[in-house]
């Protein structure tokens, strides 16, 4: 097992164990940040290695990292670290307000590390079965986090989250079994048949009907985790009721990881079937998610719930991009995934502080943030402007690419997409503007908010919007070619 891989998976695991013991201490948040930064360093090492000498398999092919999942690994590690930094003052304030007990803090910190371990495992494993197990583990760890506050709403959200995702994931298991069944015909039984690299090599010899049924089950399974529309019902409740760092990580990272798994299966299905069955399904679900996600926005009263629906809409857009296929569309999809997770986590950081200041998450009671604390106010305003796809920011760059390729290949879809983006803009901006501008009701906070993460994320998104460094561009292009 190469050193980086060992560190990459080992440190969150160790962190989870250590924090399970000392999670309630004063220094626990700093420990949490340390473990996350350590994972980030490992991820950076891995990234340099992948760029230097291409895809690498590890531990006799149980782990496989190519250009597609290495950028997600880097992104996950980075956002996990910044969220850890943000959660330091946030959780302290929550504890001072008495909303989280000492045991709760311990649970929070250990589950946080276990959650990043599960996500990194999903990203790096080569075995579809292990991927399923890790995805299920990710769900389990976050269910407890969502229910941390023990309020009526958070319990309900956690219950729905677990039941719906549990059922969804079960379908994915059945899909994996069918894939294994089809692969067994070609590769014979044994440990190696479920390895993605092997499947990828023989994907054109797999039985089309079985693979199409398998893809349906996988789509329903992982689609529930991505929050595609008919299966999205758990997402707004889960993202709104948990503590804000959890919502940031859920919205920013878990959706990407689920979509990554779905893309892995799509690559196999595309190879097996001639007709574009998989991409048609993805496009259909993607479009439905964008439209319904946008339409939900205007009736929200809770800010985190609104941004959860905005995540559904953006994930729908990325799925639509992967559904269209072709190098440019896949490139745009990957770019949009990165931009969305950076911007959405930045917004949740700002929202977290704003909600703490105003003491509530109802948007009607949060007013005039700029006058109380300009950095939080400007952070929220710039984040909202970025997530709505206003140009100088990178989200517009990827949306531009998606829409322009859509105009070239699927002209019928563009008006629908643009209309829903317009409605989303009208709804979100209409609600955020009075929160940021105007006279204020919020009060100062004991701990000064950690806003470096917000502005580092937004600066990154702004920079990528204007200038894409060449090595990053080729990196995305290689990944896009993989998706095909």
């Amino acid at each position: 097992m190469s050193l980086e891989m060992l560190l990459l998976l080992g440190s969150p695991l160790a962190g989870g164990a250590v924090l399970a013991l000392v999670g309630h201490r004063r220094y626990a948040p700093e420990l949490n940040v340390a473990f996350s930064t350590f994972t980030l360093l490992a991820a950076a090492g891995l990234v340099t290695r992948i760029i230097a000498d291409g895809p690498v398999t590890d531990l006799d092919e149980q782990f496989f990292v190519d250009s597609l999942n290495v950028f997600l690994v880097a992104l996950t590690a980075f956002v996990a670290t910044t969220t850890a930094i943000f959660s330091r003052p946030y959780m302290r304030i929550e504890r001072d307000h008495g909303r989280v007990s000492a045991a709760g803090m311990r649970l929070y910190h250990s589950m946080y590390q276990m959650f990043s371990f599960a996500m990194l495992l999903v990203l790096t494993t080569n075995n579809l079965g292990v991927m399923w197990v890790a995805m299920e583990a990710a769900t389990l760890t976050t269910v407890l986090l969502v229910a941390l506050y023990r309020t009526h709403a958070s319990l309900e959200a956690a219950w729905k989250y677990f039941i719906l995702c549990g059922v969804g994931i079960a379908q994915a298991l059945f899909g994996t079994i069918l894939v294994y069944f089809a692969a067994e015909k070609v590769l014979g039984a044994g440990a190696g048949t479920l390895l993605w690299t092997h499947l990828d090599a023989v994907k054109d010899q797999l039985e089309p009907t079985v693979i199409s049924i398998a893809f349906v089950f996988l789509l329903i399974g992982y689609g529930t985790k991505v929050g595609l529309v008919p299966l999205h019902n758990w997402l707004p409740d889960a993202h709104a009721e948990g503590p804000t760092p959890v919502s940031a990580v859920l919205s920013g990272l878990l959706l990407n990881v689920a979509l990554y798994a779905l893309v892995r299966c799509k690559i196999i299905t595309d190879g097996a079937l001639e007709r574009p069955f998989a991409s048609a399904l993805l496009m259909g679900f993607g479009l439905a998610s964008v439209v319904v996600g946008a339409l939900f926005l205007s009736r929200q009263r809770d800010i985190k719930r609104m941004f959860a629906y905005s995540s559904i809409e953006h994930m729908g857009l990325v799925t639509f991009a992967f559904g269209m296929g072709g190098p440019v569309a896949s490139f745009a999809g990957l770019l949009h995934m990165t931009m969305h997770s950076l911007t959405k986590s930045a917004i949740f950081f700002a929202v977290g502080h704003a909600a703490q200041k105003a003491g509530t998450q109802a948007m009607d009671d949060i007013r005039g943030l700029i006058r109380v604390n300009p950095t939080v106010g400007w952070g929220l305003m710039l984040g909202t402007v970025a997530i709505l796809g206003m140009p100088p920011f990178g989200v517009f760059a990827s949306e531009f690419l998606i829409l322009t390729t859509a105009m070239a290949h699927q002209p019928w879809a563009t008006p629908i997409l643009l209309l829903s983006l317009g409605i989303a803009f009208a709804s979100i901006f209409g609600k955020v503007q009075p929160m940021v501008f105007g006279d204020t009701t919020a009060k100062r906070l004991p701990h000064s908010p950690a806003l470096i993460p917000v502005f580092t994320h937004l600066a990154l998104v702004l920079a990528l919007g204007l200038y894409m460094p060449p090595y990053l561009a080729d990196w995305y292009r290689m990944a896009a070619r993989l998706i095909g």
Partner: protein
């Protein structure tokens, strides 16, 4: 002598176990009382254990013995025990409210079984395993437990539905591909166990918070028109 009988009647025996599994799923669907629901779940686990042992013996797949032992330990002994303790601690009312009455659920169940069968037909054509016929039944069990979760409004029956869906999936695995590789079997079992534990904790929490386990009170998070 037992060995020859087993090898000769093996496939019919497996079909028998599959039919038994299907019957148990239907019974759980129609069950009113939670206690008997748990016992039926344990019975389903036991039938699953027997069929896995038989398949392992017939096909000589040694890792199946391990997974059969795992099923026995987990789904026949551990989980039912946890559920029984849960019921006693919660002293929850015995009867199970269902959202739509039993006859209609049964009708829908039958339709689902027919659907599952002709869906699984193309796969069974290709399956080389001796237990290929059971794939349709496994898919039917999964869909039936899905239906059970939809129609039950109490938390505990939903949990049992979720666990019986796992059983169905496990049976599909043994039926189609003689069980998944060991590491995945172990992972799946671990997930199911942890899942059950968490659900148990949740039910306690809900019980304390709303002094009822009826999920119909869990409807505050919604969109007002």
């Amino acid at each position: 002598m037992l060995a020859q009988a087993l090898t000769k009647y093996g496939p019919q025996l497996i079909n028998l176990f599959a039919a038994a599994l299907l019957l148990l799923s239907f019974a759980m669907l129609a069950q009113r009382r939670i206690l008997s629901l748990i016992n039926l779940f344990a019975a389903q686990g036991f039938v699953l254990f027997l069929s896995t042992m038989l398949v392992a013996w017939l096909t000589g797949q040694h890792h199946l013995y391990g997974s059969a032992a795992l099923t026995l330990a987990l789904k026949v002994i551990a989980l039912p025990w946890i559920l029984h303790r849960l019921i006693r601690r919660l002293n929850v009312k015995w009867d199970v409210e269902t959202l739509i009455n039993i006859p209609t659920t049964m009708l829908v169940g039958i339709v689902l079984v027919i659907l599952a069968f002709n869906l699984a037909l193309p796969i069974t054509m290709l399956a080389g395993t001796v237990t290929r016929a059971t794939l349709g039944i496994a898919l039917a069990c999964v869909l039936l437990s899905f239906l059970m979760m939809i129609t039950r409004s109490k938390a505990v029956p939903q949990v049992i539905g979720f666990l019986s869906m796992e059983n169905g999936l496990f049976f599909a695995a043994t039926g189609a591909v003689y069980g998944m590789p060991m590491v995945i079997e172990f992972g799946v079992a671990l997930d199911v166990l942890v899942g059950a534990l968490i659900l148990g904790i949740f039910i306690f929490e809900i019980r304390e918070r709303f002094d009822t386990v009826d999920t119909r009170h869990l409807e505050r998070l919604k969109e007002r028109p």
